[in-house]
């Protein structure tokens, strides 16, 4: 069961581009151990929402708190530190560096953020990859689509984030791989003690989330909860 601690709290979020309203008083919270899917077609604002959560885009108004820390009014460096410490991200196309092996790819965010709390990023990267059944001693180029995405998931977890964001994480996979990756992703919050926000247009993937929201009328409307 998700705890009562919010790892993500969005309140009264407004986003406007010139005359176009994207979000109008949008509210959302993600609890520790909880997974939430944002469902919606392309252009509905899913990626914009993720950008705002990441602090890469400034909202017109509203507040965003990540694990209790507000993103509003912070400097770019502060936001980057919060991102590095508290957020993991899974991209649609995995975005692995082909010239590095899977272990290097997974360890890289820890090296980039200079996570001193971590004992050995390479050991943890190896452990994560083993847990996610990704072969270690191979070229990244030779990984299958599912293995690449699982590597990306391991990379998102390397800094022990409080919140995992996933942007169309199964968009580039076949059905079998999609199911495997979706199962893996939805198991993360409870397994690793974090919250997860998935943006997807795939209803079957979204249905595995604890809660499902749909972007409608510039707000998030509940589209159901898992059984």
């Amino acid at each position: 069961m998700p705890s009562e601690v919010n790892v993500l709290a969005i309140a009264d979020l407004n986003l406007k581009f010139r005359d176009r309203t994207i979000f109008d008083n949008l509210n959302l919270s993600v609890r520790d151990g909880e997974s939430i899917a944002i469902l919606g077609p392309s252009g509905s604002g899913k990626s914009s929402l993720l950008s705002i959560v990441l602090g890469l885009m400034a909202p017109t108004s509203g507040s965003i708190r990540i694990d209790g820390e507000t993103m509003n009014g912070r400097s770019a460096d502060d936001k980057a530190k919060i991102r590095a410490d508290k957020i993991g991200m899974v991209f649609q196309f995995a975005e692995l560096l082909p010239e590095m092996n899977p272990v290097d790819n997974v360890a890289l965010p820890a090296l980039l953020s200079k996570n001193t709390a971590m004992r050995d990023p390479y050991q943890r990267a190896g452990e994560l990859l083993s847990e996610l059944n990704v072969p270690l001693d191979v070229d990244t180029d030779s990984l299958s689509g599912g293995e690449r995405q699982r590597t990306a998931v391991a990379r998102a977890l390397i800094n022990e984030p409080r919140l995992v964001l996933a942007d169309e994480p199964t968009g580039s996979l076949d059905q079998k791989s999609r199911d495997l990756v979706a199962e893996l992703l939805y198991g993360l919050p409870r397994r690793y003690g974090c919250g997860m926000l998935i943006a997807t247009h795939d209803l079957q993937v979204a249905q595995r989330a604890d809660r499902i929201f749909q972007v409608e009328n510039h707000r998030l409307e509940s589209a159901g909860e898992s059984a």
Binding site: S47, L50, L54, L56, A107, L111, L112, Y122, L165, D167
Partner: protein, 735 residues
């Protein structure tokens, strides 16, 4: 019903709009514009050289003398005597003395009237460059300038003199000329501009050098610029191909995309071209003045060359727009087999270097000396790519391992990239290293020619000019000699050199007893062949073709016989040669003044000046090659940085790009510049070891500096672009 738009227009528009999207900060736009600018200027430069050469040849032909036959009327004859002279540290020039015999005598090119006796006309360049030496007074009374149409170029040093005492018809040194100008049928240039043409650099050689040093690197720059930051473009081409687009469609899209950058580069080059066509150009370093009129006379040739550069650039851009697959750089590590092959070839590199550098010394003064040097040089050039590829791979592995050990993301990313794609990295740095080696080879060969000058300068520095030779073609009077000596501010003793008129005879110094005593030399009343001539002056002692003995005698008699004077400063301080030349006006005959052995220096000056052309174009070429390497390496860096963007955007570590770019752009270029320079200086050692003038550390410093500038500029630019692209990255913004 609306008319269906032409596919060319549609495709061109697609490309034009795509070009405005400025992938990777518009780096392709800027580099393509730069390459077009450089390419056009290089083509225009070649056309300009051809144009100037044609015009110079035409003017040189206008100065060819038509000699009088036996039936020529005396009134149509001008007597001409030509002498060589020189300014200090400059090449020789000709001084033409004229005595017209009648009113119909032909005026030499560049004069509109005959000077009065004693009057002098100088070329503007001689007047300007000889101002410190009072050149305007050296030959008589300066009256005016030889007009530009009488000079082969604005830099020509030339003097026309009408002597106070008319030239004599029966003098063997005097030519009888009835007209000036030739149709060039004989192919030989003689007459007024003979010496200037003798000094010319081979035009074909110069153009060949420019093609190798400037045009080929410019084409390479165009090629790499057309390929840089091509990710989005490749996808577009792929998409268009999938949608049924044919090669012609891709070409029109490519044309639309590249047209603005190529157009801007071309227009900027045209602006420079029009400026030069309007006012001419004073080429720095070599000091050659290009006449705007010469260029304008061949405007079609120049415009044609510029158009050709445009066509070639367009062909390169269109030629690349034919792939239907997205290019994916292999990121797999090199196979063991390939690594072994590279290792074997790379192992031959030090062997080649040793053959080229060390072996020749064991075959000195035999043909094997040069053969081994060349075999070594060719071996070095052939094994360089594999060596650099292997070094890159090894350096990448070391760097990546160090990154893992020190948990340094930058070293890990940069090292992995270098290790995974050593051939791509090696390709662009190999071109740079080879360019540097070839640059030093050319400098070395030119240095062998120009080394004489350096050596002669060293001799001059060592021996100084406290002894001066004054040659008179005829006997001079004692009065003239006294007046001449009085015109020199330094105290001088007048000695003479007499050479007997029989084969194999040696010359002697003739000096009076008083003169010898004033020079602190014991006086013997008979000829003393054992007396050390070096006591008169060290230079005379070292003068291999000079006198071998001293004859104690009054030099006045020798002067009357027409001997050569030797002026020696008893205080052993320097005599100013220009001042002596000025004082020589006191003679009624034309005299030559020089320091003993100075002909060595003067004769070698043309090669010395040609070396400056080689240095100028060589450095420009290096700068272009540096830019090629910098642009190509930036392209590799963008490929890495675009993949890294999502991670660095989230981690907020975009400033790390400065370090990554340093490892992928600036450091490889910097190390290659240093390595190429060291190899270049080393491999030419057998060529320069016996030459005084060789590419030294200052040249090496400039060469490395020129290349480093490209690397540093591109490092900063590429870093800024990568940082900006990363800061603009948003979820869902996949390219």
């Amino acid at each position: 019903m609306s008319r269906r738009p032409d596919f060319r227009t549609v495709c061109f528009r697609i490309g034009f709009r795509a070009g405005r999207s400025m992938e990777s900060g518009g780096v392709r736009f800027h580099t393509l514009a730069l390459s077009m600018f450089v390419l056009t200027l290089n083509f225009v430069l070649i056309a300009g050289i051809v144009a100037v050469s044609i015009e110079r040849d035409d003017r040189a032909l206008a100065g060819v003398a038509e000699y009088a036959g036996t039936d020529a009327k005396e009134s149509e004859i001008v007597l001409v005597e030509s002498r060589f002279d020189n300014l200090e540290n400059s090449r020789q020039f000709e001084v033409h003395y004229f005595t017209p015999l009648g009113v119909d005598a032909p005026l030499p090119p560049g004069l509109d009237r005959w000077p009065e006796p004693g009057q002098v006309y100088l070329s503007p360049a001689l007047f300007e460059r000889g101002a410190d030496e009072s050149i305007a007074e050296r030959f008589g009374d300066f009256e005016g300038f030889i007009s530009n149409d009488g000079l082969i170029d604005q830099g020509e040093l030339l003097a026309y003199v009408r002597p106070q005492t008319d030239l004599r018809v029966d003098d063997k040194r005097v030519d009888k000329v009835i007209d000036w100008g030739s149709d060039g049928a004989t192919g030989e240039i003689s007459g007024i501009h003979w010496l200037a043409k003798q000094h010319d650099f081979s035009v074909a050689g110069l153009i060949a050098f420019i093609v190798v040093a400037l045009v080929l690197p410019s084409l390479a720059l165009t090629l790499v610029s057309a390929r840089i930051a091509a990710r989005r473009r490749d996808r577009r081409e792929h998409l268009v191909s999938i949608l049924g687009g044919m090669r012609k469609h891709l070409r029109w899209i490519a044309l639309g995309e590249s047209f603005p950058s190529i157009g801007i580069g071309f227009c900027l080059a045209l602006v420079v071209m029009v400026f030069v066509l309007a006012v001419g150009l004073d080429i720095p370093v070599v000091g050659f003045e290009v006449s705007a009129e010469d260029l304008r006379s061949h405007i079609l040739l120049i415009v044609g060359a510029a158009s050709l550069s445009l066509a070639i650039a367009a062909a390169i851009v269109l030629g690349l727009a034919r792939r239907t697959k997205i290019r994916r750089d292999s990121s797999r590590l090199l196979s063991d087999q390939r690594l072994r092959r590279m290792s074997v070839i790379a192992g031959l590199f030090p062997v080649s270097l040793a053959v080229g550098v060390f072996l020749p010394r064991f075959f000195a003064y035999t043909p094997s000396y040069m053969i081994l040097q060349w075999v070594g040089t060719i071996g070095v050039l052939l094994t360089l790519p594999a060596t650099l590829g292997l070094l890159t791979a090894r350096a990448g592995r070391l760097l990546a391992n160090r990154g893992r050990r020190r948990q340094d993301a930058v070293l890990l990313v940069a090292g992995s990239h270098l290790q995974a794609q050593p051939r791509e990295t090696a390709r662009y740095i190999t071109g740079l290293a080879m360019g540097l080696v070839l640059f030093f080879l050319v400098l070395a060969y030119q240095g062998i020619l120009a080394g004489d000058t350096e050596e002669a300068m060293q001799y001059r520095e060592y021996y100084g000019t406290n002894t001066i030779l004054v040659r008179t073609p005829d006997a001079a009077s004692i009065e003239e000699l006294r007046a001449f000596a009085a015109g020199i501010s330094e105290p001088v003793e007048v000695l003479a050199i007499r050479t007997e008129d029989r084969p194999g005879s040696t010359s002697s110094v003739i000096a009076s007893c008083e003169t010898l005593q004033r020079l602190d030399i014991p006086c013997e009343k008979q000829a003393d062949s054992k007396l050390d001539l070096g006591k008169i002056d060290a230079l005379i002692g070292a003068w291999s073709s000079g006198p071998k003995s001293i004859v104690v005698e009054d030099p006045s008699e020798a002067v009357l016989e027409g001997a050569t004077f030797l002026l020696v400063n008893p205080e052993r301080s320097q005599i100013e040669i220009p001042e002596v030349k000025l004082a020589a006006n006191e003679f009624n005959v034309i005299v030559a003044v020089e320091a003993p052995g100075r002909g060595w220096l003067i004769g070698s000056m043309p090669h010395y000046e040609q070396a400056e052309w080689v240095m100028l174009f060589g450095m420009c070429g290096l700068a272009i090659i540096g830019a090629v390497s910098a642009v190509a390496s930036a392209g590799r860096f963008f490929a890495a940085s675009s993949r890294l963007a999502p991670l660095t955007a989230i981690a907020g570590m975009s400033s790390q790009y400065y370090r990554i770019s340093a490892w992928l752009v600036a450091i490889p270029i910097g190390l290659t510049a240093v390595m190429g320079t060291i190899i270049g200086m080393w491999i030419v050692r057998p060529l320069t070891i016996y030459a005084t003038k060789s590419p030294g550390w200052s040249t090496a410093g400039v060469a490395v500096g020129v290349v480093l500038i490209s690397g540093i500029v591109m490092w900063y630019w590429a870093s800024r672009i990568a940082i900006r692209d990363t800061e603009r990255w948003r979820p869902g913004s996949h390219e």
